[in-house]
Symmetry: C2
Amino acid sequence: MTTIKDIARRANVSDATVSRVINNSPNVKPQTREKVNKAIEELNYYPNSLARGMRSKKTHSIGLLLADITNPFYAETAKTIIERAGNHGYSIILCTTNNDISEQQKYIDVLLQRKVDGFIFASVHWKDPSLSAVIEAGLPYVLYNRKTSAYKRSNYVVLDNELGAYLAVEHLYKLGHRRIALIRGPHTFSTGKERSNGYLKALKEFGLSHDEKLIVQGKYSGKESYDSAMKLFNSNKPPTAIFASNDLMALRAYDAALFCGLSVPRDVALVGFDDIEIASHRAIGLTTVSQNRNLMAEIALDTLRKIIENESPQEPAQVVLKPMLTVRETCGSQMKKI
Amino acid sequence: MTTIKDIARRANVSDATVSRVINNSPNVKPQTREKVNKAIEELNYYPNSLARGMRSKKTHSIGLLLADITNPFYAETAKTIIERAGNHGYSIILCTTNNDISEQQKYIDVLLQRKVDGFIFASVHWKDPSLSAVIEAGLPYVLYNRKTSAYKRSNYVVLDNELGAYLAVEHLYKLGHRRIALIRGPHTFSTGKERSNGYLKALKEFGLSHDEKLIVQGKYSGKESYDSAMKLFNSNKPPTAIFASNDLMALRAYDAALFCGLSVPRDVALVGFDDIEIASHRAIGLTTVSQNRNLMAEIALDTLRKIIENESPQEPAQVVLKPMLTVRETCGSQMKKI
DNA sequence: AGACAAAATGTAAACGTTTACATAATACTA
DNA sequence: TAGTATTATGTAAACGTTTACATTTTGTCT
């Protein structure tokens, strides 16, 4: 391993000067800089991040905690974050929690040991004690997509989920649907809760009765939503439309509908949430609540970077983005006459 | 920050003893161990990974380089790797290269500075000089999915892509198809090349003429495959079946077919490669070459871990897994009579 | 040319561990 | 019980940087 000392010896300067060159310190004679760079080149030297971090208390690494990287929503936002971080000299340590708080806790501990400069969470629960370790350590963090009740002064960037859900149901209502079901996401997450709220709000506003039979459970990934949709279709008064709390769930419902021999949208209309890539495929054509994912991820990263680099304990950045409805084929323009 | 010294003082032992406790060294009196653990508990101490890595030359971190995390194939394998690594005390630093060699080179440099214990690559090109830095540094690495010609003695775990493609074309042939097109992946990757080879081999074997007009270009992600499929459909002798080099490309072709008013599989049959999650959705039903992704990712990680932990420079581990064809709806069981 | 300010460089400590080696405590043997 | 082997603990150096401070060099002004 060639170290800063080797360079120093070769260039006939002190370690400190080499360090100055590496760090682009202004006060170094151009001639010296050149000498040092030459030695660096010749010996194929690159600095040791561990030693740097050890001394300077900055590792230029960020912990990113996601529920599930196979959910396209997270994959796409992670991509944005990783690339943007890389462009600014930060590396991303990626951890996936499977929505398990104790997993998250475990990863937070690991990342604290690794001395990350900050955290980005897209994995928090509404009740989530695990952030306390981060806060005690005094490390900056930003939440995206999901908020938590545990720390009101968190930095976050989220969507107006209630509005999104409202728009979805409104659309269905205007198409003539009156029996609109909800496959709700887990209420242990702000997204699940808020989207359910938006659904209920719309029902009330349009004078539709709140029928508990039309509300079924789902998880954001996995097969549960499929079974829940089946339950809806097999009930004695099935819905004419379904709003699902995310696209993955909507796709499961779609799958279940096809299994039941139902046609979408003729027999049942479908709206999802997230606008993942596949939603726009012509074989799917999922109507969905869309959000500017890139923007969300960008804001999350930039906010964190600003906090890390300024160290200024300003007011928490709390951004709420507005969703819009992207209309495709799964709702049709007419509802089936019953 | 509470350090090992604080613990030592509190427990009335030396730093070395604390270190021994932390590292589960055998030679420490149970009573002492308890004393130390108590102090650790009380002061809420956790060791500093940077300092550890600095001294012990092991960071328990692994660099994972992928082309594109939004491709479900990579997302799913990454998930497996991240989780499995976490279970063994390793953290994953994730980098995405967008199939750009210079990006890859850049990330390799960063990861070398960060003193990762090893690399996992699913991003290598067939001609790929960027690994040389890893090899010079003497760090272990494992390739998965793609091989490279640059280093014959690399550890890798890949699929028998040629066989996979052959199976796909064979299936189409047996269904009666004689004009079978290929949307080929970039030949700058082993996967693209090998899958094309399998296609050609099958053509030859079944006595089908090799028609260059039936072979079009695609990239593994992005819209290019859509345009290429359009070209096929708009030609004066369109194919009755298409084999695409991965599922994402097959989905693009599917989309293009629908845009052209073609029915799948009545007007055109479709086979993909990878068997990503959405392929099994009933609205899609993509026939595809499937592989045991979990297995591939598991082997990749376990192989790397073994090398890291044994340090033994054995024979390179070179694993080739066998694919199988998963038949769904996009081929039908009959071809259209022309 | 001399005095002073500014710029460039050097020195050495510090960051928080692990580890080779030395030493002390304990257990075992005859 | 003395002598020895074994186990437990301590000491101090080392890992490769950065940085506060000290020192030297260079430049500016009269």
